[in-house]
């Protein structure tokens, strides 16, 4: 008998993406470039975060025609973004048979209170988080993979570092607590107690942890791997740079060889200019995408 869409099947695909780079693409042509550079998966979205920032307006799920075109163009997994709480966009993406759905703060939220009930889907979800509590709330809702949020579309790594250090630091703190201290700690984190117990026992998230938001260079990717990311999402960093194929290949290489600075140095040479960047600390209020979701 076949058991489909078990949590093991959902989180298992993320397990197979480890050590890899997942690249934002908006067209089939970009998806092909990503695949040929060694991307472990592509993420289909309407506009890359840098363009969403520049042009403003409501950012939505990608056109299904475009998603289908990207699926035709590549054989690697195709992920696609849905708005936070927009379970209808997620149902559409499931009907298109995308391999993973990203309930993403990069798009304009559809529900200011509730995230999607991800247990109701056969297709697995990845969600962003800025803290351990947020990660465990998403996993409690059914997410099978977590990515630290960072600040998408900036090319500034500082928020990705902040979120990754916070998540891994909070995991370490939880892992030294006694059984009697865990309920209060879970309450403090705003996390389901059972998941907090699991993290305390295993000293790791119950699902794969990638990072996202602000990666622009091979050294950025290697830094995030060194800080505990199990793989990286790169959004605007590739297709908003001077030479996307070369930069994509270089980020893949640096993600594999993050422990070897000579290889990261070699991969970083001659890539032309990185994306035009924004300092996250100069952004205000609504401009901070990581604050979307809870």
């Amino acid at each position: 008998m076949r058991d489909e869409a078990t949590f093991r099947v959902k989180s298992g695909l993320a397990e197979m993406l480890k050590g890899g780079v997942i690249m934002d693409v908006v067209t089939p042509a970009q998806a092909t470039i990503a695949e040929e550079a060694g991307a472990a998966a592509v993420m289909a979205l309407e506009r890359v975060p840098a363009d969403i920032r520049r042009d403003g307006g409501v950012a939505r799920m990608s056109d299904p025609e475009m998603v289908a075109g990207i699926q035709q163009a590549v054989s690697i997994p195709v992920m696609a973004k849905a708005r936070i709480g927009h379970f209808l966009e997620a149902q559409v993406l499931q009907a298109l048979e995308v391999d993973y759905i990203d309930e993403s703060e990069v798009l304009t939220p559809a529900d200011e209170s509730n995230h999607i009930d991800k247990w109701a889907f056969k297709v697995p979800f990845v969600c962003g988080a800025t803290s351990l509590g947020e990660a465990l709330r998403r996993i409690g809702e059914g997410a099978a993979m977590i990515r630290s949020k960072g600040e998408a579309g900036t090319g500034d790594i500082v928020e990705a570092v902040r979120h990754m250090r916070r998540i891994t630091g909070e995991i370490r703190k939880l892992s030294v607590l006694g059984e009697a201290e865990l309920p209060a700690a879970a309450k403090e984190l705003g996390a389901p107690l059972e998941l907090a117990r699991e993290v305390a026992r295993s000293s790791r998230l119950p699902v794969v942890l990638f990072c996202a938001g602000g990666i622009a260079t091979p050294a950025d990717a290697a830094l995030m791997m060194a800080l505990g990311a199990e793989g990286v999402f790169v959004g605007s960093g590739i297709f908003k740079s001077d030479d996307p194929p070369a930069r994509a290949r270089a980020i893949v290489e640096a993600t594999t060889h993050w422990q070897d600075p000579e290889r990261v140095a070699q991969a970083s040479r001659g890539l032309g200019r990185a994306m035009t960047s924004l300092e996250s600390s100069k952004l205000e209020g609504e401009e901070l995408l990581a604050q979307r979701g809870w």
Partner: protein, 214 residues
């Protein structure tokens, strides 16, 4: 005797294999460049994206040394994308042709109990079926006479053995089932006892490895 197992770690599910191997007391080394292949008693090629791994294997020039080790009798075990990497078109270690994503996209992924046989050594698994997790899984479309098919799903071969090389289309490392890894560690220990890497190389190695198997 402790076996030293390399796990190809260019991209993919290498940590899941490493966790099982650690639990079974093996020394585990991550393999990213040819130098990491030295001194191994066995090599695992994990699941992941075969296009990503293929690009990595070319970039690191790993194909030729891996093929040489296979000829010398080094036990190898590929799962999912690892099965693809072992096939004729990629590393050329096994005489099989594999169709990628044959079961379809993620929505068609599944887990199931799978009986493996009729290989005599694999009868050690007869305590019951293996819990097999199929993720965007491939299957074997064609194979040569030296390849023994060990299991099928819907009539398609999903597990096969050729001498000291085992390939499966699924992930037992994601389920709590370490019997395939125990079997593989047995091969690795036999390889090490027979002289292992120090004597590996040339047709002598191949003959020795064949002699060590029933």
């Amino acid at each position: 005797m402790v076996a030293t197992i390399g796990v190809l770690a260019l991209q993919g599910g290498y940590e899941a294999h490493a966790r099982v191997l650690h639990r079974l007391g093996a020394v585990v080394l991550e393999v990213r460049v040819p130098a990491h292949l030295q001194g191994l008693d066995g090599l695992i090629i994990p699941g992941g994206e075969s296009t990503t791994m293929t690009i990595g294997v070319e970039r690191e020039r790993l194909a030729q040394p891996v093929r040489a080790l296979a000829r010398a009798g080094l036990p190898m075990f590929g799962s999912c994308a690892g099965m693809i990497m072992l096939d004729r078109e990629h590393l050329g270690v096994m005489d099989i042709a594999v169709e990628r994503n044959a079961f379809g996209r993620q929505i068609n992924s599944f887990e199931a109990d799978l009986e493996l046989g009729p290989d005599r050594e694999l009868d050690g698994l007869a305590e019951g079926p293996v819990r097999a997790v199929f993720i965007r899984a491939p299957w074997i479309v064609e194979h040569g006479p030296e390849v023994e098919v060990l299991a099928r799903v819907d009539g398609h071969p999903v597990a096969a053995r050729q001498g000291h090389v085992l390939a499966v289309a699924f992930h037992s490392e994601l389920a709590d089932d370490d019997r395939l890894h125990r079997l593989f560690l047995g091969w690795a220990r036999a390889y090490a006892r027979a002289g292992g890497a120090s004597e590996a190389g040339g047709s002598g190695g191949l003959a020795r490895s064949r002699a060590s198997q029933p």
